[in-house]
Symmetry: C2
Subunit: 398 residues, 2 copies
Amino acid sequence: VFCVPQESVAGADRIGVRIGDHVLDLAYLVGQGLVDGPFAVGSLNDFMALGPDHWSAVRSRLTDLLCDPGARTEVEPGLYELEQVVLKLPFEVADYVDFYSSLEHATNLGRLLRPGGEPLLPNWRHLPVGYHGRAGTVVPTGTPVTRPCGQLRHKQQTLVHGPTTRLDIELEVAVVIGVPSELGERVPIEEAPDHVFGVVLVNDWSARDIQAWEYQPLGPFLGKSFATSVAAWVTPLAALEDARVEGPVQDPVPLDYLRGGRSWGLALDLSLGLCPAEGGDEQQISSTSFAGMYWQFPQQIAHLTTNGASLRTGDLLASGTVSGPERGSEGSLMELTWGGAEPIDVAGHERSFLEDGDEVVLRGSAVVDTGVVITLGEVRGQVRAANADTVEVRRHEI
Amino acid sequence: VFCVPQESVAGADRIGVRIGDHVLDLAYLVGQGLVDGPFAVGSLNDFMALGPDHWSAVRSRLTDLLCDPGARTEVEPGLYELEQVVLKLPFEVADYVDFYSSLEHATNLGRLLRPGGEPLLPNWRHLPVGYHGRAGTVVPTGTPVTRPCGQLRHKQQTLVHGPTTRLDIELEVAVVIGVPSELGERVPIEEAPDHVFGVVLVNDWSARDIQAWEYQPLGPFLGKSFATSVAAWVTPLAALEDARVEGPVQDPVPLDYLRGGRSWGLALDLSLGLCPAEGGDEQQISSTSFAGMYWQFPQQIAHLTTNGASLRTGDLLASGTVSGPERGSEGSLMELTWGGAEPIDVAGHERSFLEDGDEVVLRGSAVVDTGVVITLGEVRGQVRAANADTVEVRRHEI
């Protein structure tokens, strides 16, 4: 979804397709009678609700138009350069669910938070653990993120209300629901992919100190709810067909309703870049793969709906942090710096957690058999200082 | 929000005001030029977004109309009997947040779930603990609730996927946000009430066995997400002005950003009724008061936004289960039957948790100084048997 601010028609929001460094205006193509669909609107939701047959009809129609030299003069007036347009949130988020599906991430967090104990809790291998996040604070790439304030416990003795000192990144991949489901009915695992319109990169910003103090017993709340950044572009699931891989073997074999859907691993190469506030070039601080995730989206959807919960168009189901088994393949600073104990070097500057002015960039792509590279929309976000009027620090015996 | 199915104009959704056993059609009054506002629509959201000045202008205009005998002939065609209309969800739920604000409930749950330990976790008295629920499964009163399936652990040794055997009620009171706030800005505690349009009763249905197995470490998920029932009527906060009381003293005194708002206790008398599936009259199984809640909504709003999270019109902020200090004043069967160990008698039938066919009714009212009784919209829901095709039980060593 984009608008063109300098346009005479007052920059109305409409839907576009990204083609390299250009955006093809689908609302323009509808106006010309070249394509049919709800594209002269400010969100993908109406189109996403139409279902796989409509999605593929539009995809093949666009492919035909773009491959036909004769259609060039008709299509070209609908092309904008990427710099001309303002990108918006691509869809209205219905519910935002965040899973916890990387074995390596869950193991790392278990080791960091419960040292000496069994890193994985007993339920982890039996069900895709997840929780609901705040849909209202999902923002598109480029939105600055204000350092959140909250309650922080220092050394188990002092309670402070002030800006987080452990602001973190979480590199995630989410599916976006297109086709809704009925309340009271489960979605069988084999039907789950038909509900998914596409895939987006997600940065689930986290304040580790706020989270650590608040999260018992009802889970993360203010430590996560201040902002969640998503890409401006949703990559249709159909475009990733050639990136599908078999997921890792699950041991133990899960219950029947979670069996299947294992061919929906996606071989996405992911990376985290950081531009330090001090200046200097962006540096890659993590490089990982989405292919090895323990729980996959068909299982997540089957689980989410097995209690009869309905899906809505615009539901955002995120994977949880994607971490690989090697050092340097973790999707959060919490893991990359081992809870801050092992700071990393970023272009000559030491980092444990994010500093004001740091900019983070999440990238993802798939190299498919044909050699074609499918690039996911990037997710960019810069940290702003906490608001002066919210910095209210006092101490409190606990 | 209601429609009239037998109407010639095809029963369009519109907004009404409840007056005893009648509904006054505000869309009709707009059409007659008697009232101004966005009432010929299917949700209260547009009106709720307008803010306190608009809300009170409409309230006093309606009071004038209803007290003016001369206006009677103009108003009467807009009156329907309650039985003539179909009630709908009164507003579009943006985010659904559930707090945990009753000291008695949190203490009871702590005793039941962590016997022998300290019932309250260390953070409980320092911040209003809460989490995000599933907005997409909030349903209006009268919607049947299908018994949810999920993973249940039996005797720590066997894993089953099947219908919950510990289906429960949670009696709650929620505020509904009217006026949104900006991302990145906190709402100071003294401004919080200006964001609140009104109050609704909530039944946060819970499957205790699903919840017990899934909730570590990220909080409740499928044990709560299958359905949350709300009243069809939102009581404007302004109508409860005379029901305000000072909340209980908080010890320790909370941090600065949570100080204040203590005069927003609401003296609401609440009750839980149960009509057992076997037949017989409805029996009251709990009677409690909302006046003594430890954390109050201005504190909840100040806390929710202190990290910069924005409020949206339609945010539903529920109190958590309302329980009093005496036996019989608890807002859940989990507490009333002490985890099922002490079944209660309901019209001659034993109950630990809900059976298929049971109907639950939540009621609330305030008796204000003038002797006037303000009745909140009731919340009714009947339990349906689990869907046959989702009853897939197998055993699994864990």
